[in-house]
C-alpha cells in the first residue's frame, strides 16, 4: 500500500513537472486514413494543426494506420522513439485491444480515444474518451436541404447502419422535414467507410431517380458532393468542409472542429491535470454549443432568407428552445420511436443505441 501510494505521488509529480520543464509536451496522433481525404481524417489532422499555436507542444503524427497491431506499434514508437506523453487515437477500432493494452503497458502516458466506451474497473485509468455530438449540425444542414429541394427528394449515402450513422440520417431528415414536410430522404448503404466507386454509382443512381440534394456519411463524402455537382444538383457535406468539390451546388455541411478538443486537453495537461486523477474528465463530449462541430460555409446558391431561417434555428438550438429528438416521433415503419411528452437530450445514452430510421426516410436500418 505504502509503495503504491508513493509511486502514485511520484507519477503525479512527474506529470506536473514534465510540461513545465524545458522539454516540450509531445503529443502523438494516429489517423486511420490519409490526412488529405477531405473527410474524417483530415478533420483530425486539421485539429492537430490548432496546437501549433502553443509553443510548448510538439506533435507527431502517422496516417493510414490500419486497426491492427500496426496501431499498437505506432503508439509504442511514438512513446519510445519520440517521447510522447499524450496519445490521440482518432479511429474507432484503435480502442480495444490496442489502446487498452498500450495504456496498461505505459501507465504514465495519457491516452485519448475518439469515441468508444470506457468501462470502469476493466480499462486502465490513463484512458480518456472524447467525442462530439453532431446531430444538431446535421439538423441545420438538413433544413437547408429541405429548403433547397425542388423535387422534395433528398438522397443520403451511408456506410453502415450503425447508431452513429442512423443518428445523422435521422437528424438530417428531421431538419429537412421541419421546413418542408413533404421532403423524404432515400438512404443507400454502401457497406464500408471508404468505397468511392460505389459511392459515385449510388450518387448517380439517386440523381437518376429525381433526387436533387445529395449528402452522405462515409469516411469522406467528397465523391458524393462531387457527383452532385457534376449532375447539376445540390450537395451537403459531412466530416470536413467539402465546398471545394462543388463550387456551384454546395449548400453547407456538418463538419468537425477537433481543434477545440485538442487545445482544451493540451491546456489542461499543461496546467498539471491528468485523466488518471480525474482532473481531466473521463468522457469529454461536446455539441454545437461547445464548438466541437460546426456548419460549413454556405455555398453561393443559398438565399438570404434560407440563411436567416438557419440562423434563427441555430439560435434556438443554442438557447435550448429547439430540441431535435422530441416525442411523439414515429419510425419509418409506423412504430412509436419516442413517446409523446418525452424529449431525448442530445447526449442521452439512449440515442447511442439508435436502431431505427425516422418517418420520412426511405430505406431500412436492418438488412
Amino acid at each position: 500500500m505504502m509503495m503504491a501510494s508513493r509511486r502514485d505521488v511520484l507519477a503525479g509529480l512527474a506529470a506536473v513537472a514534465l510540461p513545465r520543464g524545458s522539454s516540450p509536451l509531445t503529443m502523438g496522433f494516429l489517423y486511420n486514413g490519409p490526412k488529405n481525404d477531405l473527410g474524417y481524417n483530415q478533420s483530425h489532422a486539421e485539429g492537430r494543426q490548432a496546437l501549433r499555436s502553443l509553443s510548448w507542444v510538439k506533435t507527431v503524427e502517422e496516417a493510414s494506420i490500419p486497426e491492427t497491431v500496426a496501431a499498437e506499434e505506432s503508439m509504442r514508437d511514438m512513446i519510445f522513439q519520440d517521447g510522447a506523453s499524450v496519445i490521440f487515437a482518432t479511429s474507432f477500432g484503435y480502442y480495444d485491444p490496442f489502446m487498452v493494452d498500450m495504456a496498461r503497458e505505459n501507465p504514465r502516458v495519457q491516452f485519448f480515444h475518439c469515441g468508444g466506451f470506457y468501462q470502469e474497473g476493466k480499462h486502465p485509468k490513463n484512458i480518456g474518451i472524447y467525442f462530439g455530438f453532431i446531430d444538431e449540425v446535421e439538423y441545420l444542414s438538413g433544413m437547408l436541404a429541405g429548403l433547397s429541394t425542388r423535387t422534395n427528394k433528398i438522397g443520403f449515402i451511408a456506410a453502415k447502419p450503425i447508431p452513429q450513422v442512423l443518428r445523422n440520417i435521422n437528424s438530417f431528415t428531421l431538419g429537412a422535414r421541419s421546413v418542408n414536410p413533404r421532403a423524404t430522404t432515400k438512404v443507400v448503404f454502401t457497406g464500408d467507410w471508404v468505397l468511392p466507386v460505389r459511392e459515385a454509382e449510388a450518387s448517380s443512381a439517386l440523381a437518376d431517380q429525381g433526387i436533387d440534394v445529395l449528402t452522405g456519411h462515409t469516411g469522406s463524402p467528397r465523391v458524393i458532393v462531387q457527383m452532385a455537382e457534376r449532375r447539376g444538383i445540390f450537395g451537403c457535406g459531412y466530416q470536413f468542409n467539402q465546398s471545394s468539390m462543388a463550387p456551384h451546388g454546395f449548400l453547407t455541411g456538418a463538419e468537425w472542429a477537433w481543434g477545440t478538443v485538442y487545445l482544451r486537453i493540451a491546456e489542461m495537461i499543461y496546467a498539471g491535470k491528468s485523466v488518471m486523477d480525474g482532473s481531466i474528465p473521463r468522457r469529454l463530449t461536446g455539441t454545437l454549443k461547445d464548438e466541437f462541430c460546426r456548419l460549413s460555409p454556405f455555398g453561393p446558391s443559398v438565399t438570404q432568407s434560407s440563411r436567416n431561417r438557419l440562423a434563427a434555428a441555430k439560435a434556438a438550438i443554442l438557447n435550448g428552445s429547439l430540441e431535435i429528438y422530441r416525442g411523439p416521433m414515429r419510425d419509418n415503419e409506423g412504430r412509436i420511436a419516442i413517446p409523446a411528452g418525452k424529449v431525448l437530450k442530445i447526449e442521452d445514452v439512449e440515442l447511442d443505441r439508435m436502431d431505427w430510421l425516422v418517418e420520412g426516410v426511405v430505406g431500412k436500418a436492418r438488412g
Binding site: T68, A70, E73, F117
Partner: protein
C-alpha cells in the same frame, strides 16, 4: 540459371529499385540516405525494432505460402485475402462454441477449423480451374469479395456482440482462450506458426515425392498426365495446403491480436502475401526472408512519416518499386555471361547440344 545469378540478380534488382526510390525521396526534398538509415533503424536496428518487424512479418509468412505452395504446381492463387477472412471466421465460430473446453483444446479446434475453412476456400478456386476451366486468378479475386461480404453478414448479424455498437464485432474470446505471446516481448505465437509452416512447406516441396510430383505438374501438365500422376488431386491438395496457411493467419488475427472477429480481418495481409510470394520466387525459404524484409519496411513506415514528414504512402511506393524491379529482373537471367560461371555453364550446354 547459375547459382551466382540467383543471388546477384535479385540483389541487383533491389539496388536498382532503391536508387529509383532514393530519387523519389530526393524529389520530395528528403535526403535518401537518411531515409534508408531510418528504415534500417526502425525495422532492423535493435531488438525493439525487430519485435515490430516480427509482429508484422508473421501474418505475411502464412499468407505468402498461400500463393507459394500452389505456385509450385503451376497455379496462380491470389485469393489469399478471402482465405484469411474465412479462416478467421471459422476460428471465431469454433472458438466461441468451445469456450467451455480447456484453452488448449479450444485453440486446437480454432486452428483446425481455420485451416479447413481457408483450405477449402482456395481448394475450391483451384478445383474450378482444373475441372471447369475457370481461371483461379479470377475466381480467387471474386471469392475475396464473397468472403468479405460473408464476414460483414456474420459480424453484423448472428455473431455480433450487441455491446459493439459503433464498431461491429463478434463476441470476444475469454482471455485464457487467446493465443499467447513470447514472454517479455510483444511478438505473438503467430510467428511460430508461420515459421513452422515455412519449414514444413519447404520440406514438402523439396524433399518428398509429393513435392516432386507437384513440380512435374507445374513444369509440364501433359508430361505429368503421361507419367500417370493424379494431376487434379495434386493441384487441389496444393491449393488446400496454401489456403490452410492463410486460414491460420486469420485464426492468429482472431486469437492473438483482436480476441474477437471484426472487419479488421480484412486488413490486406492476403494481398501483401501475394507480393511476398512473388518476390520470394515462390520458395518457402524465400517467403521467410521476404516476409522479414517487408515486415521491416512496414515497421519503418511510421518513422518515415514522423521523422521525415514523408507521405503515408511512401512505404507502399517503395514496395511497389521493389516489386516491379524484381519481376522485371526475371527477364535478365541468362543474358549476361558471368566470367566465373562460364566453365560451369558450358558442360550442360554441350551435353544438351
Amino acid at each position: 540459371m547459375t547459382r551466382a545469378e540467383t543471388v546477384i540478380v535479385p540483389l541487383g534488382a533491389m539496388l536498382a529499385g532503391m536508387i529509383v526510390f532514393g530519387a523519389f525521396c530526393a524529389a520530395l526534398g528528403v535526403n535518401p540516405l537518411l531515409v534508408y538509415a531510418s528504415i534500417w533503424k526502425a525495422g532492423f536496428g535493435s531488438w525493439y525494432s525487430w519485435q515490430n518487424t516480427l509482429v508484422r512479418a508473421s501474418p505475411l509468412l502464412l499468407c505468402g505460402l498461400c500463393t507459394a505452395i500452389p505456385a509450385g504446381a503451376g497455379i496462380i492463387v491470389i485469393g489469399n485475402e478471402g482465405a484469411v477472412v474465412v479462416g478467421g471466421l471459422g476460428a471465431i465460430a469454433s472458438g466461441l462454441a468451445t469456450l467451455s473446453l480447456p484453452p488448449f483444446l479450444s485453440l486446437t479446434t480454432m486452428f483446425l477449423s481455420a485451416a479447413v475453412c481457408g483450405g477449402l476456400w482456395i481448394a475450391f478456386s483451384v478445383a474450378l480451374q482444373h475441372y471447369r476451366g475457370v481461371s483461379a486468378v479470377i475466381s480467387g479475386l471474386l471469392l475475396n469479395y464473397l468472403a468479405i461480404a460473408l464476414m460483414n453478414q456474420l459480424i453484423e448479424g448472428p455473431l455480433r456482440d450487441p455491446s459493439s455498437l459503433d464498431n461491429p464485432a463478434s463476441y470476444p474470446l475469454t482471455p485464457d482462450h487467446r493465443l499467447s505471446y513470447f514472454s517479455g516481448t510483444h511478438v505473438h505465437h503467430g510467428l511460430t506458426f508461420g515459421l513452422v509452416a515455412c519449414v514444413l512447406a519447404w520440406f514438402l516441396v523439396e524433399r518428398t515425392t509429393f513435392g516432386f510430383a507437384l513440380k512435374i505438374c507445374g513444369g509440364n501438365v501433359r508430361a505429368a498426365r503421361l507419367s500417370g500422376l493424379p494431376v487434379g488431386r495434386l493441384v487441389v491438395i496444393a491449393g488446400f495446403l496454401g489456403g490452410a496457411c492463410a486460414g491460420v493467419a486469420g485464426m492468429v488475427e482472431v486469437a492473438a491480436v483482436h480476441g474477437r472477429a471484426n472487419e479488421s480481418l480484412n486488413a490486406g495481409y492476403g494481398y501483401v502475401g501475394i507480393l511476398v510470394a512473388f518476390l520470394a520466387r515462390q520458395s518457402a525459404f524465400g517467403v521467410v526472408l521476404i516476409s522479414l524484409l517487408v515486415g521491416g519496411l512496414l515497421a519503418s513506415g511510421g518513422m518515415l512519416q514522423r521523422a521525415h514528414g514523408l507521405p503515408d504512402a511512401t512505404i507502399a511506393v517503395l514496395q511497389g518499386i521493389l516489386f516491379l524491379f524484381i519481376l522485371l529482373s526475371d527477364t535478365v537471367y541468362g543474358r549476361f555471361k558471368l566470367p566465373w560461371a562460364q566453365s560451369h555453364e558450358a558442360k550442360p550446354d554441350a551435353a544438351a547440344a
